[in-house]
């Protein structure tokens, strides 16, 4: 056992922390207010190598690991969830699948620019009637000669509708030629494909600057060789991306919880006057103690899942533990800190209001808490 970070992991964490504090923090309120995508910040993140941390040098990556990747996500989220989400979706939603299942040509063509930060990736899975229930997707892909014809729609897709969003990794139903069976395949759809349309942007409770859209595929055509990996393994590819994404949500939630703690700590330090001892005011300091403890548990959980992933070991259970525990914990912490700040917490002049509105999202994306429990229970009963 060794709980220490390696010098390289530590360096990534410190670099991310510094960048988050110096570059992101002063702009966070602005993004939330305007709802605009932070193009300049994203390109600086790529320049620092954040988009390619766990990928090999030959694709422009950092030759690092998922522990470093998730540490970076936590540190960004500790200041603002937005850049952490953009990074998470590009890395776990698109780059991860391209790297694991793509051909060398696909990697050179799409993975390299993602890592360089020239483009952003998205993952198109969710549909109006199919979220966690992946097998119910209705989007279809039909192979016609040398081209795929895709029809259907997706919703809530993050990182879309942006001028630098190059591809969406789309899950679609298709008929396997060999036996005529319906299977789920995964196709790389460039955003300039004919028949690809982006719908309106959602007005949301929080996270106003994450770019989520409805997508329409209206006889959308892409070349045959844009299929990712094996035609019948789309479902497991999506699951693999989701699993990486769930560790990332664990890190993101931990960062958010830490951000709430940081705010509460500063606020309380100011409020508890020097002469008043901890024994006079226990309720709130004890609340802080619980919050600090739960954050430490969240952090250890996502790091263990990331570490197992780095070891190439099975980590299904751990990835879901991390996502489920850290997201529910973060919402609880954001709610408690809002109360600690009461009545000031409800004002948008404090970041806690933004954290509170953002928190609930992590219990919903990448599968709701119910889905996490379902999968954990299924693993337990195996």
């Amino acid at each position: 056992m060794d709980f220490h970070l390696t010098p390289k992991q530590k360096a990534v964490k410190e670099m991310s922390r510094r960048f988050a504090r110096e570059v992101i923090a002063p702009r966070a309120e602005e993004f939330e207010r305007t709802g605009e995508h932070p193009y300049d910040i994203v390109s600086q993140m790529a320049d620092l190598g954040m988009m390619g941390i766990p990928f090999p040098k030959k694709y422009g990556g950092g030759d690092g690991d998922w522990v470093s990747m998730t540490l970076c996500i936590e540190e960004l989220s500790r200041v603002d969830m937005l850049p952490a989400v953009i990074l998470d979706v590009t890395v776990t939603g698109a780059a991860h699948a391209l790297y694991l299942f793509g051909t060398e040509e696909q990697k050179q063509r799409w993975l390299v620019p993602l890592i360089q930060g020239k483009t952003l990736g998205a993952m198109g899975l969710t549909e109006p009637d199919a979220g966690s229930d992946v097998s119910s997707i209705r989007t279809t892909a039909v192979l016609e000669g040398e081209q795929w014809r895709i029809n259907g729609s997706k919703q809530f897709i993050t990182n879309t509708g942006l001028k630098n969003n190059s591809i969406v990794i789309v899950a679609a139903k298709t008929r396997r030629e060999s036996d005529g069976k319906d299977v789920i395949c995964t196709i790389i759809v460039p955003t300039d494909s004919p028949g690809y349309k982006v719908g309106g942007k959602y007005e949301k409770l929080g996270m106003r600057a994450t770019s989520n859209h409805e997508l329409f595929f209206d006889d959308c055509r892409v070349p045959k060789d844009y299929l990712l990996g094996d035609i019948s393994k789309g479902f497991s590819y999506q699951m693999s991306s989701l699993q990486a994404g769930r560790i990332a949500i664990g890190a993101l939630s931990t960062g958010l919880a830490q951000a709430c703690f940081d705010e509460a700590f500063t606020f309380i330090r100011k409020r508890i006057k020097g002469r008043q001892s901890l024994f006079d005011s226990q309720a709130i300091p004890f609340m802080l103690a619980d919050i600090a403890m739960r954050i430490e548990l969240s952090r250890n959980m996502y790091l263990k899942a990331a570490w197992l992933k780095d070891q190439g070991e099975n980590h299904t259970m751990e990835a879901h533990f991390a996502k489920l525990y850290a997201s529910e914990t973060a919402t609880r912490i954001a709610t408690e800190v809002l109360q600690i700040f009461s009545p000031h917490g409800c004002l948008e002049e404090y970041p806690i209001a933004r954290f509170f509105r953002g928190a609930k999202l992590n219990e919903i994306v990448e599968g709701t808490s119910e889905m996490q429990r379902l999968i954990i229970a299924r693993e337990l009963l195996k």
Binding site: A283, T335, Q339, P343, E348, A353
Partner: protein
């Protein structure tokens, strides 16, 4: 023991529900909310129908009923719309002090216009750096020859810029005995007031809320409400009333969020089944319903006790603590049941969630309420 509402109370509840059903146009309300506008039209209609100031005697324009009837009305309003319900529930703040401590003239001057929809009142009681004590005020009322000069700052004043009467809690100085507290009646349009409306906030966006600076506000002797030294008990009375209203509001918001989540759970199909058929969703909805029932019972008990003039601060404080937590927890769970849609503004549940987070700031905010409650349960040591 009798847990039934009377026939009259049932009728009031139903009337309030059908009024809210008829008046709350979701698109219009979303627009008001986005623009931080008070729902003037609905409020005026509610006043015309006698829903505001129900517990105020008929001779002052009210219905002469109790706070329990008030609670039934505001629960029904909030159930239909959290934002409108909040705005209407808080539109007569401070009237309790005027009613119980005011002279005939003070009452005649203010209460009928509050009940009839001509003015919206407020109570200025919270201050920066307030010790968690009821009845601690830095705002000074300096007694001079022909009246009082008010100086100080109040925080989180509701209905700040809406025309109408207001009550301010002060500490006396000058000719008066130092340290005594008292309440004063003034008009929000008077000279010597500097209102500062707070900008963006999580919820409660239809109520103009903010800081009020008293820069030498002159109040004649007739502006004193009750006697010098009454301040503490006046505020305690008002807080009890506000806590009960907050409890009704919180219960209503929770019920409204539950209604939406239940309807959605019947609509939404996943894995080929209505999600309302999944045990996890059934469990969540069941817990929500249980919490709402608890919150409602305590709200009704606190209101019933208040109407019997018990003077007990404990029940209203408990009810508010439970109802504000219930509102937030239930709205959070309701949003969760909506999944991704819950996060989207068009589905309205996110607004109930945002408004639910604000119930706590009515009366004494969170921790202060708990401390005050501890003093009532355990006593000061």
């Amino acid at each position: 023991m009798d847990f039934h509402l009377s026939k009259e109370q049932e009728d009031i509840r139903k009337a309030a529900e059908s009024f809210a059903e008829g008046e709350c146009d979701p698109d219009l309300i979303s627009e008001w909310e986005r623009e931080y506008r008070f729902p003037i039209a609905i409020w005026q209609k509610a006043c015309e129908l006698g829903f505001i100031g129900m517990h105020i005697p008929e001779e002052y324009g009210g219905q002469g009923l109790g706070l329990l009837e008030n609670a039934l009305v505001f629960e029904a309003f909030c159930r239909k719309d959290s934002g409108v319900g909040l705005a209407l529930a808080l539109s007569d703040l401070g009237s309790e002090i005027i009613l119980k401590y005011g002279t005939q003239k003070q009452k005649k001057m203010t209460l009928p216009s509050i009940c009839s929809g001509k003015t919206i009142s407020t109570l200025a009681y919270l201050e920066e750096g307030q010790r968690d004590e009821v009845g601690f005020f830095e705002t000074k009322a300096i007694e001079q020859g022909d009246g009082f000069l008010i100086q100080g700052n109040k925080k989180f004043v509701f209905n700040l810029t809406l025309p109408g009467p207001a009550v301010v809690m002060c500490r006396l100085s000058g000719n008066s005995e130092k340290g005594e507290t008292a309440a004063f009646l003034f008009d929000k349009n008077a000279e010597g007031l500097v209102p500062e409306v707070l900008g963006d906030r999580v919820g409660m966006r239809m109520i103009p809320m903010g800081n009020l600076t008293f820069a030498d506000l002159n109040i004649p002797h007739e502006g004193l409400l009750g006697n010098r030294g009454d301040g503490q008990s006046q505020l305690a009375l008002s807080l009890s009333e506000m806590n009960i209203k907050a409890s009704a509001v919180g219960t209503g918001i929770a019920q409204g969020a539950f209604d939406m989540a239940l309807a959605y759970a019947h609509r939404r199909i996943q894995f080929g089944r209505k999600i309302a058929s999944f045990e996890a969703i059934r469990g969540r909805l069941t817990d929500m319903a249980t919490r709402i029932e608890l919150s409602r019972l305590l709200t009704h008990k606190a209101a019933w006790s208040f109407d019997r003039k018990s003077g007990d601060s404990k029940l209203p404080e408990m009810a508010k603590a439970v109802a504000s937590e219930t509102a937030l927890k239930v709205a959070q769970d309701a949003l969760h049941i909506f999944g991704g849609y819950g996060y989207v503004v068009d589905y309205r549940i996110e607004r109930f969630y945002r408004d639910a987070s604000m119930v706590d700031i009515i009366g004494l905010p969170g921790h202060s309420n708990k401390k005050s409650l501890a003093n009532h349960v355990i006593g000061r040591i």
